[in-house]
Amino acid sequence: MSTTLLFEQLLNGLQYGVTLFLMAAGLTLVFGVMGLINLAHGSLYMIGAFACAAVAAATGSFWLGLVASIVAAGFAGVLIEMLVIRRLYDRDHLDQVLATFALILILSEGCRMVFGSFPLYLDTPDFLSGPVTLFGGFQYSAYRLAIILVGGLVALGLYLLITKTRLGIRIRAGEADREMIAALGVNIATLYTIVFAIGAALAGFAGAMMGAIQSVQVGMGEPVLILAFVVIVIGGIGSIKGALIGSILVGVVDTLGRVTLPGFFNLFMDTAAANSVGAALSSMSIYVLMAIILIFKPEGLVSNNA
């Protein structure tokens, strides 16, 4: 295998990991602060992608679509939090799983009613549609590179938000002791709505960016949601830093596994068998990674309970 191909796949893995991080950050934030497991997070990803595709098709501008995805998913997040999620904070995890599973059914079918079952297509903006030449004449998709950069910026922004701003102090205080910060006069209900909306907006943003690479369709959020779960199990639930490490790890292992495993089995099998065994095993690689990490660190790589 050539070094260029390997390097390209490494970047693809990074890009995938960054997208996963945008999903996992919201999930882990919501779990860390409110103690809530939200299966409907993938639906917010879907809402973002549909909003972007619809607005981009109507106005012809990808950028307006991107703004629309953040607004629509954030707004949907506020609505869902105030109508449903709010009633689930003091329930057990089983009730949370079921109620958010019900939300998935409602949002997916609702989306199908509005947009139909056929996928929508979303084009990348013109100036990002071609390849860029990196060092040594190496060519890579400009759009994917942009995702990596934007994702990195969002991760930095999130870090600054949590560590440097007043809202961030409140969020961390909410994670540590919710009764205490309520007693100190912070409106905990509003704080929860804001945190949920931030997570929702990040998911919507991720959906819009991925919508231009994949097709925009009902149920598109579910595979990503489950990978985001794997990410936060690996990283440690409630930890943004863990989510970042976990996302990159999962993105890179998944992408590289798909490229290298068939070649590896080809060393001692015929090509057809190597391809099928390689494909089957590479689809399991990140779950094997998760199992290994769980055996040694059941609380995830970055434990929040320390």
């Binding site: 009730d95 109620a99 599973f101 769980l294 059941p298």
Partner: protein, 329 residues
């Protein structure tokens, strides 16, 4: 007249209703209803399996589709080899396919039990949300494995042309197959009632309520929970083999996380931890699907609304509404 609770009367009524159902359906000249009732019996059995882990043991497994699908694929793989007269493998010894239900059930139970043992060993090291996500992730792993493994149909699934055989019974007759499934459903219910009332069941419920106290009495909660998880997976695996036989078709969708969610919804709709909760849940689900599925393509939208309502406002499920709070006697 013995002093029975309303829940017991409800259970007896449902059992009798299911037993005579094929006669009613035949009298109504609606043989298709028998197939619907067979689905109720099979889904009930799957949910009885989950109810043991979820209701009695408090283990919120969001990956029971794994066992359901493994049961299904056990049937699919054995029957497809029997259908083409090719052995499953020839080295180190020859294993042939089969179309005998009894053997298929045994294989389905053993295979899903082994899977549950592995998944349980890893995921029971954790608890709470971790447990939910990890069971989900492992089920998803098997799902993606079956999608990308082309030998048994990959993403397209696998059709079996003739229903498998049971000694002395014509399984192609819908009523006969319904009674096979119903008997297994009652066996599953009997087993779970037996477990719940046994010493093991008492330990399992103690593990749900307070693990530290159970450990203090000298019983290891981990072993109790793992055993319950494996039995639970085996029951759901058997249901998977039956469902595959009913549809004469298997595909990775049996393994998908929607299936896990569906099995869980059956338990909740009926009432968590109630003996007949899974049966009532499956009845409601199939009737709802039949009526609303005929009216609109978007019936799952309304299912979602109802589920949300049940979770937020009617926490005892349907049995809770019909028969009041659970009696502890």
């Amino acid at each position: 007249m013995p002093n029975l609770s309303r829940e017991t009367y409800l259970n007896i009524f449902i059992s009798l209703g299911l037993l005579v159902f094929p006669f009613i359906a035949t009298a109504m000249d609606e043989p298709f209803y028998i197939t619907l009732a067979t689905r109720v019996a099979i889904l009930s059995l799957a949910a009885v399996g989950l109810n043991l882990a979820l209701g009695t043991g408090g283990l919120v497994s969001f990956g029971h589709a794994a066992f359901f699908g493994i049961g299904g694929y056990a049937m699919g793989i054995l029957a497809s080899h029997a259908q083409t007269y090719t052995p499953i493998f020839t080295w180190p010894f020859v294993i042939e396919g089969t179309n005998q239900m009894l053997i298929i059930w045994l294989v389905a139970i053993v295979m899903s039990g082994i899977a549950a043992l592995f998944i349980g060993l890893l995921s029971l090291r954790t608890s709470g949300v971790y447990f939910i996500m990890i069971t989900l992730a492992f089920a998803q792993m098997i799902y993606y494995f079956m999608i990308s493994w082309p030998t048994y149909g990959g993403e397209d699934g696998l059709s079996i042309y003739v229903r498998n055989q049971f000694p002395g019974v014509n399984t192609l007759d819908p009523s006969s197959f319904f009674y096979i499934c119903l008997v297994l459903m009652f066996a599953g219910l009997g087993l779970s009632a037996m477990i719940k009332n046994s010493r093991f069941g008492a330990a399992l419920q103690a593990a749900r309520q307070n693990e530290e106290r159970l450990a203090a009495t000298g019983i290891r909660p981990f072993n109790i929970k793992l055993t319950a998880f494996v039995i639970s997976g085996m029951i759901t695996g058997l249901a998977g083999a039956l469902m595959a036989d009913l549809n004469r078709f298997i595909s990775p969708s049996m393994l998908s996380w929607h299936m896990s969610g569906e099995i869980m919804v059956l338990v909740i709709l009926g009432g968590v931890g109630r003996l007949y909760g899974p049966v009532v849940g499956a009845l409601i689900y199939i009737i709802f699907e039949f009526i609303f599925g005929g009216l609109t393509d978007y019936w799952q939208f309304y299912l979602g609304l109802i589920l949300l309502g049940v979770v937020l406002f009617a926490r005892g499920g349907a049995i809770g509404l019909l028969a009041g709070k659970a009696r502890h006697d």
